[in-house]
Subunit: 131 residues, 6 copies
Amino acid sequence: MATLGFIDYKDASPEVRAVYDDIMTTRKTDYINNFWRALAHDPATLKRTWESVKQIMAPGALDPLTKEMVYLAVSATNQCGYCIASHTAAARKAGMTDAQFAELMAVVGMASETNRMVSGYQVEIDDRFKV
Amino acid sequence: MATLGFIDYKDASPEVRAVYDDIMTTRKTDYINNFWRALAHDPATLKRTWESVKQIMAPGALDPLTKEMVYLAVSATNQCGYCIASHTAAARKAGMTDAQFAELMAVVGMASETNRMVSGYQVEIDDRFKV
Amino acid sequence: MATLGFIDYKDASPEVRAVYDDIMTTRKTDYINNFWRALAHDPATLKRTWESVKQIMAPGALDPLTKEMVYLAVSATNQCGYCIASHTAAARKAGMTDAQFAELMAVVGMASETNRMVSGYQVEIDDRFKV
Amino acid sequence: MATLGFIDYKDASPEVRAVYDDIMTTRKTDYINNFWRALAHDPATLKRTWESVKQIMAPGALDPLTKEMVYLAVSATNQCGYCIASHTAAARKAGMTDAQFAELMAVVGMASETNRMVSGYQVEIDDRFKV
Amino acid sequence: MATLGFIDYKDASPEVRAVYDDIMTTRKTDYINNFWRALAHDPATLKRTWESVKQIMAPGALDPLTKEMVYLAVSATNQCGYCIASHTAAARKAGMTDAQFAELMAVVGMASETNRMVSGYQVEIDDRFKV
Amino acid sequence: MATLGFIDYKDASPEVRAVYDDIMTTRKTDYINNFWRALAHDPATLKRTWESVKQIMAPGALDPLTKEMVYLAVSATNQCGYCIASHTAAARKAGMTDAQFAELMAVVGMASETNRMVSGYQVEIDDRFKV
C-alpha cells in the first residue's frame, strides 16, 4: 500500500469528496484511481493537483489525445511505472491505437538516444536555432 | 566546438556526403546542423542514426507535428539544451504555434510533477491499469 | 534476490562484520538492511559507502531530519523504489510527520515541474542570480 | 532569449500584471525574474504555476528555508541550471549559510550515488520497509 | 504482461521470424527475450532496433564485454529494472566477473554523486577541458 | 564562478593543501581542476570525495581506461556538461581513441533508447534474468 495508505470515498471528508466528485464527473467514470486516493491525505495538494491536471488536460490548442500521449511519453522518459500504466489506459480511452502507441514509443526512444549522443559529443547549439 | 569537431560537406567522404545529401533532400533544406556534422566522424553511426530518425519521424499513425512535439517533450524532460533548441525549431517548421508550444510545456511540467509524487507516495498500480 | 545475493552477519568476514557492527551501533538497531548486505560482496565499497553515509548524515549545519528528508526528496526525483521505501522509514524514525512528508512531496513535485518548464522555455539565468 | 521571449511589466496585460504584483508583494521585491516573464506568454499557466508555488512554499509543517533547500536539491538532481541558480539565491535569502549549502550538496550527491548502486545491485525492498 | 502482449515465434509473421532467427543465430541461443517479443507488434521498429543493437554491440574499437558493461552502467543510471536484469545476464555471458560487476557499480555510483555535486556547486568548465 | 567560488593552492588551508598535493601526485599533474577548487570550501567533503574517487578509479578488476569511459558514459546519461568535458579529457589521457569514444557514445545512446522503450512497453523481466 502507498506510504500513507488510501482514502476511499466513504471515509473521505467533504473537501476530499468534492474533488472525487469532480474527478468522476469530468472523466465520466465512477472510479477514483490510487493516485488521488493516496494524495487525499493532503486535501490542499489533492485539490490543487487535480485542478491543475483538469486545466492542463482540457482541450485547447492541443487535442486531448495528443496531450495524453505527451503525458505518457514524459512518464516513460521519467521511468515512472505507475504513470506509464495509468496514462496508457487514459490515452487508450482518448482513442490511442496500438499503431499510435508503437510510433509514440519509437519517438520517445529515438529522442532519448540522440539526447545523450548530443550531450556526449558536446555539440554546440547552431546559431540558427538560437532565439 | 564539439568533442571531435565538425565535418563540413566540402571535407566529407563520399559516404558522409551521401547522408548529408539525403538529409538535405528529405528536409528540403541546404543546411546540415551541428549534430550531424559532429556524428560524421563515425560514418556508420551517422548513417544508422539518420536512417532511424528518417524512418521514425516520417508520417504514419502519428502526424509529423505530433512527432516533433513529442521529441521536444522528451528532450525537455531529459534536459538536453541542444535538442530543445533544435527540436523547437523543427516543431515550428512543422507548424507548431506559440499556443501549442505553451500547452505542450504545461503537460510536460505536470507529468514530471505527478511522476515524482506518485513515486514518492509509493502508489501501487491499480488492478484495472494492469494489462 | 539481489544480483550477488545477500551476506548475513553469521556468514560475514571480520571486515564486513566490523561495518555491520558500526551500522548497528550508530543506528541503534540490530537490523542490517538489504542494501548493506548486498554491498558486502565488495567489502571495500561497503566500508567506504557506510563511512561516507555516516559522515554525511551526522548532525551538522543541517539536522538529521532535514538530511533524511532531502535524501528522500532526491530518491523520489531519481525514481529509486528501494531508496524511497528505506528513506521514508529513516525519515519517520528521525521524526518526520505525515504532514511533513506531504509537504515534502509537494515541493519535490513542484520543483520537477518548473525544472522542465524552465528548460523547455529555454530561460536564461538572470544576471542577478549569477555568482 | 527564451523561446517566446520575455514580457516586461510595462508591456503586460492586466491579467499578467496582477500575477506580477502578487509575486512582488509576496516576495517583498520589485524584481520579476526571467522564468515568470517567459511564462507570461501563457497567462493561465503563469497564474496557475505562481499560485501553486505560492501555496507550496508558504510556511507549514516545513519551514521556508527547508523548502527552499529541498527545491534546490531536486533542481540539482534534475540538472536544471537555471533552477539551481535561482533557488540558490532564494535559499540564501531564506537564510541558508555556506555550511548548510555544502552539507545539502553532500546529501544530494550521496543519495544519487546510493540510488544508482541500489538499482544496479537489484536490491529488493526489505519487508520492514514495506508499508 | 507488456502493454501489447508478447508474440511467440510460432505466432509470428515471416518478417518477425526473420528477426527472431537472426537474434538466435547472432547470440547463439534459442531464446527470444521479452523485449523483442513485445516490440514484435511493430515489425519495422523490431527490425530497426535489432539491427542497430547488432551493429553497435559487435566487436570494434571496444570489446563486447566493455560494451555490455557500459550498457549496464547506463541502464542503472536510467533506473530501468528490466534493462539492468537483462544486461547483467548479457554482461555475465560476455565474461563479467563478480569483482568487475562490483567495480562497475562503484564507478556508476561515484559518477552520479559527483555529477550532482558539480551541478549543484555551479562549477564552470575549466578552459583546458574545452575542445 | 561557482556558487562559493574557488580556492587556489596559495589560499588553501593545510588540510586542503594536503588533498591538492595528493591529487597532483596521484594524477601526475600540477593542475587542480575547478571541481576540487569549488569543493575546497568544505574540506571534509573535499577529502572524502577525493579519497573515494582515488580508491574507485584505481586499477582493479577493471582497467583505468574502462573506468574512465564508464564515468563518461554515466555523465552523458546524467547530462552533466562539466563532467562530460572533464572525463572526456581524463579518458583521453588514459588512452581513449576517437574510435573508442564514438563507439562508447553509440552504446550510451542505444541503451538510453531501449531503456525508455522497455519501460514504455511495460515489459516484465524474463524469469531467466531473475537472480
